[in-house]
């Protein structure tokens, strides 16, 4: 059994409430932190090696130390709880079940950064989680854990939850900041970066829910202890939301470094492929990262087992590797249509593009239409080449990474499953007989 740092108490009845959370030692770490200097806290986070859990994997301690600290200008910590990446559902799971862990993390982080008011920006569709958080915040205020002079330390700290209005792009940190300011959620053109000019032009750190929660065990056990967990530069534990054709979908906290094969097949985690089917492919880190076929996700190009870590998953670059991303682990069995799945992803990115920059605004829709044409049985081989060309013209030429996120799934699907696209093009009469195409649409095979 791997160590659990975030989910240790998640099944304790009533852990949502402040009293039970405190019985389990909750807010003791905040008390400890308030007795430390802010630099010492940042130092512990640096030592822990914690990398951002929102997707990009940027070292959190380093991000915190980059925060500009001009005299007389307020600073902010903003929690990114917009979690909208298809396949990723770990933050919601945590906030729903143990909201005080986030609040405690926000208080410690804000204290370390010298922020006196901080924000949790939550995805609008998760309205019920918003209410859970708000109730927890109210409780914390009543108990003097938030507000003026928290825990008698002399430190004043206010925490707000703000609801988004239903846009994936508002998870991009600068679009999030715009939205939080009450504006249209368009990503900003960088520089300046939020660490210099973020929310209301003030120095701002944006962190993922899981990154902020992880600060609590780091301060509790010390950065060095935390860094002993995991493998290499992938320290600590990571929440993985596993879904797709597996026996046990759900959120798992793993010690980074578990072999992918173990993660998929052991009963501790996914419990193997359901209905006794064969594994076909995995999208390992949320819909944006490259899809890998079975042989490449289980093993590195040199035959060694691939591990659940930042380095191992990206080993081989995009030719044979992928990314840990935000930990949305999507498993596809032998019946899955890669083309159909890709169309679903591409439709998502088309729908979610903010429309600021031409390659993403125009290219995402074009790719979706081409995939639709192929699925409808009207595709040609040159359409497959054109798809490849379009994604290559989007990648790296946009304002924010949503363009890349739209391009990578297309590139990897064609790279590893070109034969399947060709099959759709050459034998369109077979498409409708492909049950899975219909099963994904929730139409039973009888109607096919």
């Amino acid at each position: 059994m791997g160590r659990k740092l975030l989910t240790e108490n998640i099944n304790v009845p009533g852990i949502q409430s402040l009293s039970v959370y405190r019985q389990q030692g909750g807010y003791e770490t905040l008390k400890k932190a308030l007795g430390m200097t802010s630099d010492a806290i940042v130092e512990e986070v640096k030592k822990s090696g914690l990398r951002g859990r929102g997707g990009a994997g940027f070292p959190t301690g380093m991000k915190w130390s980059f925060l500009a600290k001009p005299e007389g200008v307020p600073r902010h910590l903003v929690c990114n709880a917009d979690e909208s990446e298809p396949g990723t559902f770990k933050d919601r799971y945590m906030m729903e079940r143990i909201p005080h862990l986030l609040i405690e993390g926000m208080a410690i982080g804000s204290f370390a950064l010298g922020a006196h008011s901080s924000y949790i920006y939550i995805r609008g569709e998760m309205m019920y989680v918003f209410h859970i958080l708000q109730r927890a915040i109210d409780e914390a205020y009543e108990a003097g854990l938030l507000g003026k002079n928290i825990m008698g330390s002399g430190y004043d700290f206010d925490l707000y939850v703000h609801c988004g209005a239903g846009a994936y792009i508002c998870g991009e940190e600068t679009a999030l900041i715009e939205s939080l300011e009450g504006k249209r959620g368009n990503p900003r053109i960088k520089p300046p970066f939020p660490a210099i000019k973020g929310l209301w032009e003030r120095p701002t750190v944006v962190n993922n829910v899981e990154s902020i929660m992880a600060v609590v065990p780091i301060i509790k056990m010390g950065g060095d202890e935390y860094a002993k967990i995991g493998i290499g530069k992938s320290t600590g534990t990571k929440l993985i939301s596993a879904c797709g054709h597996i026996n046990k979908p759900g959120v798992y906290e793993i010690e980074l470094g578990v072999p992918v094969e173990e993660f998929i097949y052991s009963d501790e985690y996914c419990g193997g492929i359901r209905n006794g089917k064969e594994l076909k492919a995995v999208v390992a880190g949320g819909s944006s990262v490259p899809v890998l076929p079975k042989d490449l996700i289980l093993k590195l190009a040199n035959g060694e087992p691939r591990l659940m870590s930042y380095e191992s998953l990206s080993e081989g670059g995009f030719a044979t590797g992928t990314m840990l991303g935000s930990g949305g682990f999507i498993v596809m069995d032998e019946d899955t249509s890669i083309v159909k799945n890709l169309w679903t992803f591409t439709r998502f990115y088309h729908h979610e593009s903010c429309g600021q920059c031409s390659p993403c605004r125009e290219g995402t829709g074009w790719m979706e239409k081409l995939l639709h044409k192929i699925l409808d049985g009207h595709g040609t081989l040159s359409d497959v080449d054109l798809l490849w060309e379009i994604q290559s013209k989007i990648e790296g030429k946009t304002i924010c990474p949503l363009g890349d996120a739209a391009a990578w799934p297309v590139a990897s699907a064609i790279r590893h499953f070109r034969h399947e696209f060709e099959e759709y093009v050459k034998n369109p009469q077979n498409i409708k007989k492909d049950h899975h195409y219909y099963r994904v649409n929730n139409i039973s095979p009888e109607f096919a």
């Binding site: 846009a167 429309g355 031409s358 125009e362």
Partner: protein, 326 residues
């Protein structure tokens, strides 16, 4: 002062200069095309991606090349930076991709578009586009909208460069003009057709690089290359009063701001000068305006038209019919 080298040409520029500005200082073919950047508008640029360049050396201090093409209009020069524009075939190929994206949903109805002849998208597609579109799907269309009685918004032609939004923000006093919806159905709007009510709203026409915002007082009056541009001025209490009159004989068909060779206005003009002063006697005429762009306007069709005695009145009837099919 940081020194930057663009396609082999070096120049020293003030701190904070962007690659695009530096390229313009050098001048000539190495200047990247810019469809959204506008030096007179703060925070403009970064959207269209036509101005992308390849940075092969970051700076003297950090010589690493930048991993991706950068928007030259939003990237500041570092000392020792080396940049490739026309000398990098892969970059030119990437730019071609951007131009193709800008065109896939564009109607290209130039024969009936008032912007034709002074359209930056026409120039761009001529210089960087593919001969044939690879896009085979239905193109996006929007209803035409009147922004007050002087300005027409033909959203179907818009490339979402955000320049008009910045004018509304920075030049007009009360902003009601902005972008609604997102992705490829995002559109410029004055929040349910509320008129852009400001003395300076007409400037959105001048900044629009395409025929999405046009002057209703000039619509279908003439192809622009059959008019004669002259510099003129008047004493105006609201603006600089320095304009270009687009004339046909003694008639003033259109009044616009004076633009430099990058299509940027020298100074904003007010709506009174633009829309109300349509008589030659309102103005002191300085002399012919030299249009410093590769454009049919500079080909002097005005004189040829006189020689040819072309009747352009028919043209406007064709346009009117195309736009208002009964």
């Amino acid at each position: 002062m940081p020194k930057v080298t663009i396609d082999g040409h070096s120049i020293e520029v003030p701190e904070g200069t962007t690659i695009l500005q530096a390229a313009r200082m050098i001048g000539g073919d190495i200047v990247p095309p810019a469809m959204c950047y506008y030096s007179k508008l703060k925070t403009s640029g970064g959207y269209c991606r036509t101005c992308i360049v390849k940075v092969t050396k970051g700076s003297e201090k950090d010589p690493r090349p930048m991993p991706k093409p950068v928007a030259s209009c939003r990237t500041t020069v570092m000392d020792g930076m080396e940049v490739q524009n026309t000398t990098a075939p892969d970059l030119l190929d990437a730019r071609k991709g951007v131009v193709e994206f800008l065109l896939i949903n564009h109607p290209l109805d130039c024969p009936i578009c008032d912007q034709a002849g002074e359209c930056h998208l026409q120039d761009l597609s001529y210089q960087h586009g593919l001969a044939k579109s690879r896009y085979e799907f239905k193109r996006r269309e929007f209803e035409k909208i009147d922004i007050g009685d002087k300005i027409k918004l033909h959203m179907t032609r818009c490339i979402l460069c955000y320049r008009c939004v910045k004018v509304a923000d920075q030049v007009c006093d009360s902003r009601v003009h902005g972008v609604i919806n997102r992705g490829d159905v995002a559109e410029i709007s004055t929040y349910i057709e509320k008129a852009l009510d400001s003395d300076f709203s007409g400037n959105v026409i001048d900044v629009c690089p395409v025929g999405a915002l046009t002057d209703r007082t000039f619509r279908f009056k003439s192809r622009v290359w059959f008019t004669k541009p002259v510099d003129a001025h008047r004493n105006c209490t609201k603006c600089c009063g320095k304009t270009v009159l687009w004339m046909s004989g003694d008639d003033v068909l259109r009044v616009s701001a004076r633009k430099d060779k990058y299509g940027e206005v020298e100074d904003w003009i007010c709506n009174e000068c633009r829309f109300e002063k349509k008589s030659a006697s309102d103005w002191t005429i300085e002399g012919p305006r030299h249009i410093d762009r590769t454009s049919v306007i500079s080909a002097n069709h005005y004189e040829k038209k006189k020689a040819l005695k072309i009747d352009v009145s028919n043209q406007s009837k064709i346009e009117e019919r195309a736009h208002n099919p009964k």
